[in-house]
């Protein structure tokens, strides 16, 4: 297998280069692309930098661009890839080193939706939530913040400081639709903005790439529905400043 990897070390590289590694996959311990990366690091070149933690698709560390598509290396079987593979850091994010990108902006947008339950009541035991009410969170709460979606979203590339992006909006939907949350109105109001929510052009890249099979685009539609329902939509749209 020929793995070509984007390399950049800010200590001494003026500009990025690509380096090709010839990997005898029979020597790789494991079946995933992450195992190939581990093999390269342990046996061919310990200077290759990438993130990883769980190795099982649940921590969201190893989102990278694999032959043009964002995914998690740890759940991408290398046998299903072509003989020649090119790996790049997630697009649209500042690069720290090699396959490691700076996700500060991504996290800032996530934080901006107040991704925590807001309630004013304090029941003696647990909040009561019916099975049906809880079902509404399925497909929303499982996000692992891998950034595969936001880094494939053209709207996020152009306005990472103003558009919340698919992952952040998915988190927003998770709380808007939680029967226990008591700040639905203020959450909707906060998103009712040409940039924060309405920059989404339903390009669907997010849903196509999500390695956890989540559907941020559908979540965004749900937020829009809720907005219509709660009639908080501004009658006078703000002016666009692009």
């Amino acid at each position: 297998m020929q793995v070509t990897i984007y390399r950049y070390n800010p200590d001494f590289d003026q500009k990025p280069t690509y380096k090709m590694y010839d990997v005898d996959t029979s020597k790789v311990h494991g079946i995933m692309l992450l195992d190939v990366l581990e093999y390269i690091k342990a046996n061919l070149d310990d200077s290759l930098a990438f993130r990883r933690s769980c190795g099982g698709g649940v921590c969201g560390s190893d989102g990278i661009n694999i032959n043009g598509k964002n995914s998690l290396a740890c759940i991408t079987p290398f046998k299903e890839l072509p003989e020649k593979v090119t790996l790049r850091p997630l697009p649209g994010m500042p690069i720290i080193r090699d396959l490691i990108v700076n996700l500060d902006q991504f996290y800032t947008q996530y934080n901006s939706v107040k991704p925590y339950l807001q309630t004013h009541s304090n029941p003696e035991k647990e909040h009561i939530q019916s099975i049906e009410q809880r079902d509404k969170l399925d497909g929303l709460y499982e996000c692992i913040l891998c950034a595969c979606c936001s880094s494939s979203c053209p709207s996020f590339w152009w306005n990472p400081d103003k558009f919340v992006g698919p992952a952040g909006l998915l988190a927003a939907a998770r709380f808007i639709l939680d029967s226990r949350d008591e700040e639905k109105e203020s959450r909707l109001k906060d998103l009712d903005d040409l940039y924060r929510l309405y920059r989404c052009r339903s390009i669907m890249n997010c849903t196509t790439v999500c390695p956890k099979g989540l559907n941020p685009n559908a979540a965004i539609s749900k937020i829009r529905d809720e907005m219509i329902k709660s009639k908080t939509t501004c009658t006078e749209p703000h002016h666009e400043h692009d």
Binding site: N9, P10, D11, F12, G30, I31, K41, A42, N43, D46, S47, A49, F50, R51, R52, S53, C54, G55, G56, G57, V58, C59, G60, S61, I75, P77, I96, R97, D98, I100, N102, L103, Y107, N111, K114, P115, Y116, L117, T119, N122, P123, K125, E126, H127, I128, Q129, S130, I131, Q133, R134, L137, Y141, E142, I144, L145, F175, D178, R180, D181
Partner: protein, 607 residues
């Protein structure tokens, strides 16, 4: 070796030929090393208190290994049976621990389990629900009612089979709300101690820049998680390298019960990915090559929900006696297809994905090949139930000033020789919170920092310097592989003196070679080779502690089964074992004094 000079308020400088490394300094009231469940629960307690606190984590907090926990968290809420009691939970935990758990700590944990779990729910944790809208509870291994008289109780609170994910994200979210300060992707290298022995913070590296810092803190909490990566095959993340344990060992402090490693019966064969005990809790069962449900034979009452050490040994025996499955007869089968698609997809969607991705089988139709796989470290840094780290001097417990530990890295000890499933997520939040509360009390009373001398900083920097200076010698990755293979071979489910002695000799050799081991990357920005090398130093200490304890303990108890000493021997070995990095081993008494109930007396475990 560099010389580290103090330059007053601007920090510390090192002169090494013409290379100058700067040691910057930051001051805190408390730092918490670790952003998993234990660390985030501790920080939450403190960040609202107005003290200057930071969480240091080598990975972004939600990438901590807590995220991988599947099955659930125990609490005697009684949502299914209508009645449950924390005392019954305590009984099960004590028996599960094969009596090596400290009863004061177990009591504290089980008693606080219900309010700790309800608190998580109120924070927003998306638990699954039952028909009454309450928290969904499932059955898990080793759980009974009425002190072992009634079997198969539903005590494990679950968010589908993604409980750890739901918990960790909720705790992180609450920390966003509380405006906790994070030093994310910072790696703690070593503790810094004052002359009198007080812990005054850590030396850490900011990975993005490679800059070094002395994080000067009145109180340091270690919440660095497990160390399963010392074994070749493990359900643990790459990051589970026992960093906190290595730090403690090098600081001259002891580790406790390190021979106690839990092998989970259902790791996917050849990959080491976990299939939760929840699969058996929902009604799954194990079979051998003859299609026999062998657990019914070994444990007629608990059956497939016997304690993990028991089930793992039974699987290992089945395989050893030739009743394993597959072409090499080296695994057994976990069957869940009979549960039906609806239950499986609702209750076990995560493991369905894992089985498809990693084992290539569709659990809706076929059984999953599984083997006992290294999963959890019961031993660790000894602490009291306030999470204060303990040293033993002249046979007496002594609190180490300024140092706390909570979570999987700690040995408080609630798990003793064998942890019950779903008791670890409980342990991390209960004792993370306890640490936070105790530290708050300490700071409220005006806890002062001691001054640190140059020598102490130099000592804590020496490891970093070694890796940066070594230019010729074996590569760290080669030694790491040797270590993992050795542990797998000599310290697995069944142990003998001969194999373990050979293992210990091998470890001592590796430890020696480590002094000359190298990384070829000496650059600063995000140097992951350096981080892995520093982790390897810790893994070796953990492995060494394991070997010392395992060789020393001449009995079989819980997860530690010796072929040469097949029985539990309470007369000689009903005691914790503490070991030091210089090879000293000593016994420490097991606590048998719960405050609110009679001690649970030693007896054989039920089957």
């Amino acid at each position: 070796m560099g010389l580290w000079l103090c330059t007053g308020r601007f920090g510390y400088y090192s002169g090494m030929g013409n290379i100058v490394s700067i040691l910057r300094e930051k001051q805190f009231d408390a730092i918490i090393v670790g952003g998993g469940g234990a660390g985030l629960r501790a920080s939450l307690e403190l960040s609202s208190s107005g003290y200057h606190v930071a969480v240091v984590s080598k990975v972004f907090p939600t990438r901590s290994h807590t995220v991988a926990a599947q099955g659930g968290i125990n609490a005697a809420l009684g949502n299914v049976e209508g009645e449950d009691d924390w005392r019954w939970h305590m009984y099960d935990t004590t028996l599960g621990s094969d009596f090596l758990g400290d009863q004061d700590a177990i009591e504290y944990m089980c008693k606080h389990a219900p309010d700790t779990v309800l608190e998580l729910e109120k924070m927003g944790m998306p638990f699954s629900r039952d028909e009454n809208g309450k928290i969904y509870q499932r059955a898990f291994g080793g759980q009974t009612r009425h002190y072992g008289k009634e079997f198969s109780v539903h005590r494990t609170c679950a968010a589908s089979d993604r409980t750890g994910h739901a918990m960790l994200h909720t705790l992180y979210q609450q920390n966003i709300r509380a405006k906790t300060q994070f030093l994310t992707e910072w790696y703690a290298i070593d503790l810094v101690k004052s002359e009198s022995g007080k812990v005054c913070g850590v030396i850490a590296i900011e990975m993005k820049t490679g800059d070094l810092y002395f994080l000067n803190a009145k109180v340091t909490v270690l919440a660095t998680g497990g160390a399963g990566k010392i074994f070749k095959s493990t359900t643990n993340a790459y990051t589970c390298t026992g960093d906190g344990l290595g730090m403690v060992y090098r600081a001259g402090l002891p580790l406790q019960d390190m021979e106690m490693w839990q092998f989970h019966p259902t790791g996917i064969a050849n990959v080491g990915v976990l299939i939760s005990e929840g699969a058996r809790g929902e009604g799954g069962y194990l079979t051998n090559s003859e299609g026999e449900r062998f657990m019914q034979r070994y444990a007629p009452q608990y059956k497939d929900l016997a304690c993990r050490d028991v089930v793992s040994r039974c699987s290992a025996i089945e395989i050893r006696e030739g009743r394993g499955c597959g072409p090499n007869k080296d695994y057994v089968l976990l069957n869940i297809s009979h549960l039906g698609e609806e239950i499986i997809l609702k209750r076990l969607p995560g493991i369905t994905d894992l089985a498809r991705t990693f084992a290539g089988v569709d659990p809706l139709k076929e059984p999953i090949p599984v083997v006992p796989t290294c999963h959890y470290m019961m031993g660790g840094i000894p602490t009291n139930p306030q999470a204060q780290v303990i040293d033993v001097q002249k046979g007496k417990d002594q609190v180490v000033p300024g140092l706390y530990a909570a979570g999987e890295c700690a040995s408080v000890s609630v798990h003793g020789a064998n942890r019950l499933g779903a008791n670890s997520l409980l342990d991390i939040v209960v004792f993370g919170r306890a640490a936070g509360k105790h530290i708050k009390g300490l700071l409220d009373n005006g806890y002062e920092q001691e001054t640190v001398d140059q020598g102490a900083l130099n000592r804590s920097m020496s490891r970093y310097q070694r890796w940066m200076d070594n230019k010729a010698g074996p590569s760290y990755s080669e030694l790491r592989l040797r270590l993992q293979n050795l542990m797998q071979k000599d310290f697995g489910v069944f142990r003998t003196k001969e194999a373990m002695q050979e293992g210990l000799d091998g470890l001592i050799a590796i430890r020696h070679e480590m002094q000359n081991a190298t990384i070829s990357d000496h650059s600063k920005a995000f140097n992951t080779a350096l981080i892995e090398a520093l982790e390897l130093d810790n893994m070796i200490e953990v492995a060494y502690a394991t070997a010392l304890g395992a060789l020393h303990r001449e009995e079989s108890r819980g997860a530690h089964s010796r072929i040469d000493f097949p029985n539990r021997d309470d007369k000689h070995w009903h005691a914790h074992l503490i070991t030091y990095t210089d090879g000293r081993v000593a016994k420490r008494a097991v606590n048998m004094k719960p405050h609110e109930m009679d001690p649970i007396k030693l007896k054989e475990r039920d089957k």
